[in-house]
Symmetry: D2
Subunit: 348 residues, 4 copies
Amino acid sequence: MIKAGIVGATGYTGVELLRLLARHSQVEVTVITSRAEAGVKVADIYPSLRGHIDLAFTEPDINTLGACDVVFFATPHGVAQNLMPALMKTPARIIDLSADFRIRDVPVWEKWYGQAHGAPELVNQAVYGLPEVNREKIRTAKLIACPGCYPTATQLGFLPLIENNLVDPGRLISNAASGASGAGRQGKIDVLLTEISDSFKAYGVAGHRHLPEIEQGLGDVQPAGANPISLTFVPHLLPIIRGIHATLYATALDVKNLPDLQQLYEQRYANEPFVDVLPAGVLPQTRTVKGSNICRIAVLRPQDKDTIVVLSIIDNLTKGASGQAVQNMNIMFGFDEKEGLDIVALLP
Amino acid sequence: MIKAGIVGATGYTGVELLRLLARHSQVEVTVITSRAEAGVKVADIYPSLRGHIDLAFTEPDINTLGACDVVFFATPHGVAQNLMPALMKTPARIIDLSADFRIRDVPVWEKWYGQAHGAPELVNQAVYGLPEVNREKIRTAKLIACPGCYPTATQLGFLPLIENNLVDPGRLISNAASGASGAGRQGKIDVLLTEISDSFKAYGVAGHRHLPEIEQGLGDVQPAGANPISLTFVPHLLPIIRGIHATLYATALDVKNLPDLQQLYEQRYANEPFVDVLPAGVLPQTRTVKGSNICRIAVLRPQDKDTIVVLSIIDNLTKGASGQAVQNMNIMFGFDEKEGLDIVALLP
Amino acid sequence: MIKAGIVGATGYTGVELLRLLARHSQVEVTVITSRAEAGVKVADIYPSLRGHIDLAFTEPDINTLGACDVVFFATPHGVAQNLMPALMKTPARIIDLSADFRIRDVPVWEKWYGQAHGAPELVNQAVYGLPEVNREKIRTAKLIACPGCYPTATQLGFLPLIENNLVDPGRLISNAASGASGAGRQGKIDVLLTEISDSFKAYGVAGHRHLPEIEQGLGDVQPAGANPISLTFVPHLLPIIRGIHATLYATALDVKNLPDLQQLYEQRYANEPFVDVLPAGVLPQTRTVKGSNICRIAVLRPQDKDTIVVLSIIDNLTKGASGQAVQNMNIMFGFDEKEGLDIVALLP
Amino acid sequence: MIKAGIVGATGYTGVELLRLLARHSQVEVTVITSRAEAGVKVADIYPSLRGHIDLAFTEPDINTLGACDVVFFATPHGVAQNLMPALMKTPARIIDLSADFRIRDVPVWEKWYGQAHGAPELVNQAVYGLPEVNREKIRTAKLIACPGCYPTATQLGFLPLIENNLVDPGRLISNAASGASGAGRQGKIDVLLTEISDSFKAYGVAGHRHLPEIEQGLGDVQPAGANPISLTFVPHLLPIIRGIHATLYATALDVKNLPDLQQLYEQRYANEPFVDVLPAGVLPQTRTVKGSNICRIAVLRPQDKDTIVVLSIIDNLTKGASGQAVQNMNIMFGFDEKEGLDIVALLP
C-alpha cells in the first residue's frame, strides 16, 4: 500500500479522486487538504463518502504531503505551481490535475492563463500525462501534468489521423460539449440549474485555454515535415452533470489513398485498456462512460466526402481528470494499469 | 395605460413580471430599479427580453417610483419594508411580492425571518393578495402583500375543506415540492445544476418560513368555533426550473357525512378564472401550468379511508409570484382580471 | 377572422400550433383531425389547453378541411401528399409542416425518405416557406412547404455568407443539436428520459434527411457561377425539450478581403422581424428563444483564422415548425407578420 | 465461484444486476435469457458493459437455468410464476425481483395485479427478501421474493416506529417519489423526456400495487395486540433517472413518552451494513446513494408536534431492486454481505 495525499479535495475532481481511491487495493489516502474546510470531515461535505472515507480536511503542509508516496493536486490553476518548488524536493511523486504544468511554452501559458507562472523552471520537468502517448515517460516521472478534459477527448480522437499525416493539420475543428461539472463546484449564477438545465450554448468561442494545450499535444505526435497544427475549438455547455462529447472534423489530404479508417483506429488502440473504438456504424453516447475511465470513439466519412468526422467521448471527471490521474499513478508505481479503474459505467 | 415601476427586477420574479407586463395592454413599465445593475439594459441580463423591453436599470428613487400608478417589489425580504414608509405617502399603489407584509403578527414575522421589522406600523394596512379569498379588499388596497408560492398552492388546495370545517384542522400536512427558481437567482453551490439536477431532497423540515403564513391564511377562513390550524409542512427541491406541486393530507372529521368532494371543489372555484378543478380521476402535472397563472387541483379519498388527499399545482413564478401580482393589479385598477394572463402553458 | 383546420394535431407541432393560434386575433381553429383520437377532446390529451381550446378531434374529411381558409398539416411525412391532390382542388390554402413538399427533386426525396412520392405532380407548386428568402412568393402561394427545424437554423446562419459567395461552398459544416421534442411524441425507447436525460450523442451522421433540404436551400441563394454546395451535417440529441443550436463552420475564400461580418449580418437581417443578430461578443443560448419565434445569431472568426463560426439558435417547435407556419400564414393572408407571434421567451 | 443465471435481463433491473455481478468476486454469470433478444450480445444493447460481459442472450431453458447455483428473475410480474414450478424442482436457488411472490394472500395479489396467479402453491415457500427483517430466513431460503422499491424505502423508514408500537398504525402516510427508471425500459409516451423532464406529478393515488405489500410488511413486524396497519400511499414521478425519496408521516400515540427518536433509529440499524441513519439535523438527498445499496434515513418531529416525519432514500435500481437481490444472494450463499456492493455513490 502506498500513501496518497490530495491537495484541494473540496471540488469535483477531488471527490472523484476519493471515489476511485477508496476502492483501489494498493493506495491509502492519508492526507486531504483544504484551507477553507480544515477540520471538517470529508464525508460531511460529500455524504456519498460516509462509511468509505473517515478523514477530515487539514491545512496543506509540505512536510505531511512530502511524506506521501504520491500527491495529487485537485486545485484551480495557479495553486500547484506555488507549492511545487518545495514539494519537488521531497521524495513524493506528484500528479497535478490542474493546468499549471501542461504547456511547455511559459509565455503561452502566461498569456492564456493571465498571470505570471510561479515555477517556470519546473515546467520542463513535467511529463504530460496522456498514457496513450507518453506511457513510457510516465513510468519514471517525478511530476505529471494531467491533461485537461477537452484535450483528452480531442487528442484521442485525432491521434491516428495526425500521427499518420492523413489530414490537413491547418484546418482541424473540435466542436465539443461538456457537462456542467467541468465548471467546478463554485457558487456562480451561470451554472445554476435554473440558468442551464433547459438550454444549450457555446462559450469561449473567441479563445478557450484548452486550445493551446490541444495544439501542443497534436503537434507532438506529427511526423517530421508535417505542416503546423491549427485548430478551431468551440466548446459548449451541456445540461448534464458528467460527460464530454467531442465531434471532430478534419479534411483528408488525399481522399483517394486513405487507409480504412475503422481499421486504423482499431489497430492504434488495440492495446489501450481505456480506449474503445466502437464497431463501424455504432455511435457513442456519453452515458456509456458515466463514472468510468473509458474513451469511446467512432470514425466516419459521411457521404464519402473528404471531411472525416470523429466522435470521441469521455467522462470529464474520470478519463478527463481523476481517472486519468489514477491511471498515471498506476503506471508510475507499476500497478496494473486498470487497478481501481475497472468500473462499469452507471447506466441507466 | 397606467405606469408601473419595478423595484429589484434582476431576480426571477422580476423577469417574470417583465414577461407578463410586456404583453399587458394597459400597463407601461417606466421604471426598473436595481442598485447593482444601474445603467445596464434589462435585455442585456435577460436576452429573452431583447426587442420587448428597452429600459435600463436605474437606482431606486422614491420620487420616480412614487410617480408611478403601481410599484412592484420583486426584492428579497427586508427591502420593501425600508422603502415603504416613504412610498406609502405617494399616490402610488404598491404590490409587494416579498414576505415583508404577509404576516400580521409582527413578533411572529421577526422570529421566522430573524430580523427586526422595518415598518411594523404598516403591516396592518397590507391586504393579503390571494384573490380567491380577498378579492374585495384587494380592489381598494393601497398595499398588497402577495402570497408566497407554497402558501398559494397549499391554501388553494385546502380552502374548501377548511372553510367548511370538514377536516381536523390540527393535523394538516402539506408535502410540497418546488422547482429551483424558487431559490432565486443567486450564486449558491446548493442550487448548481451539478448539485441538484439528478437528485431530490427535502429541506427546511424543522421549520420553513411559509409555515406561519399558511397557518394564518387558513385560520382566516375557518368558521367560528373551529379548532386552531396546525400544519406539518415539508418542502422538497425538484430538479426542474418552474413548478410547485403540493400534496396535501387531511383527516375527515366525519367521514360518513362528508359531502361529495369533487362537487365541493368545483363549486367553490366555479367562478375563479385561475383555479381549475380537474375532472374526477385526472391528476395534475406541473408542466400543464408552466408559464401560466393557473392553479390546477385534484381531490381524492383513496380506498375510502378517512384521509383526504388534495393535489394542487402552480407555476411558482406565475400564480406563485408575478402572475398573482399582475392579477392583483388587474383587480386594483378595474381591468379584466385575465388581462395579460390569458396564457397557454408552454407544453411540451 | 379566418377559419383554420389542423390535420394530425396530436403531436408536438400540433399542440404548438394550437398554443399559437389560440392567441391569434384573426384566426379561429374550427377543425382538428386525428384518426387515432377521433371523438377525444383536445384538452384531454393536452391539459395545458383546458379553457383555451374546446374542440374534439374528428376524422379527417376533405370537405370539412376544404371549407377552411387555411389547413395546416402537422403530420409525419407521407401523410400530407396523400390528401393533397383532393385538397388542392378546394379553396383552402395549405401549410404543410411535414417534409412532403420540401425537396423539388422527386427522386432525391424518394431516396432519402425511402418511399414513392404520392403526389409528385404537386411538388413544383409548393413554395418553400422560409420567409427570410421567399417572402414574396409566400404571399400568393396555394401550398407552403414549411422548412425543417435544422434547415431553418442552418440556412439562416449561412445565408449572408452564401448569398455573397464569401466562403467555400464545398466545405460547409453544420454541427447541430436538437431538443428531444424534435423526435416527436411517440413511445420509443431511445427518447425515454431514462435513456437520454443525462447523456449526449450524435446521430444520423452517415446521412440525415435534412441534408438535401439544406443543400437545396443554400444552393437557391448562391450567386451565379458559385461552386456547388456540399455540406457535412452532424446532428446531436440534447437532453432538453425544446431548442436547436447550430454551430456552423465555413472557410473564407479570401480572408484578406472579407467584409465586416458583424455588419454584414446586421444589415442582412435588419428588417427581419424574427432574426436577431446579437451584438458582437454575445453568444446565443437556446433558452432565450424558448416558446418564441426568434432566431438568434452570432458570427465570429476565432483567432483571425480563416474558419468562420456562426452560432444560430431557434426553438425547434416554434421558428423550427409551428411558429414559422403561423408566420407564413400571416404573410399569406396579409396579417401583421408578428400577429400571434410577439411572444417573450419563457426564461427562466 | 458460483454460477448465476438471469432471466429477462433486457430491462433496467437486469442491466443493474449485470453491473453489480460483473464486479462480484464470487459469482460468474453464465446464462442471460431474453426471448426477444436471443442471439444478441448483451453489450450491444448496453454499451456500458462492453469489455465486462461477453455473453449473448439466449432463450430461457429450464435445464440450463436449473444448472445454475442461483437464478435471478428480472422480469415483469407474471413471468416468474410460470417458470417457477419447474425451476423449484432443480437444485438452483431463486431470487425473484418481480412482484410474483411478495404477497402471501393470493386473492389480494390477484386483485391488485389483475390476473390469476400461476403458482399459488409456491407463494408460501417464498421468503420476503428484506434482510433488515428476515435475514435468518433468507440464509436457507430456496425462493426469495425481493421487495419492491417503494416498499423497501417505506418499510425501512417506518420499522423502528412500528416495531415499538409508537405511532398510530391506522393513519400512516407514505408520500414517495421515484426516478423514471422505476417505470422500466419500455417505449411508452408517458415516460418520454419530453413529457416528464420538466414536470412533476403524482400517480396511482387511487391505489398502487405497492400498497398491500407495504401494509403486509409492516404488519409482520408489529408487536402483538397492535391495531392493524392502514397506509395512505401517494407515489410521484421525479424527472431523474434513479432514486426514491419517501417522506413518511406518522402520529405519535403518546407524544409525552416518546423515546429519543434519533437514538432509536441509530440503535435499530447499528449493525445493518446498508442502512445509514444520518446525524440529527442532516437530511438525505437521493444523489448520495446513486448506484449504491445504501438506504439513508433521517427522523424528525417538527415543531414538537405529534406528527413524526421520516425521510428515507434509496436507489430504486440498487437497494430497491438489484442491489438488494445481490445482498440476498450474499446472505444465502454465506458470502460477506457487502461483497460486490461496497460501492461509493456516483456524486456528482
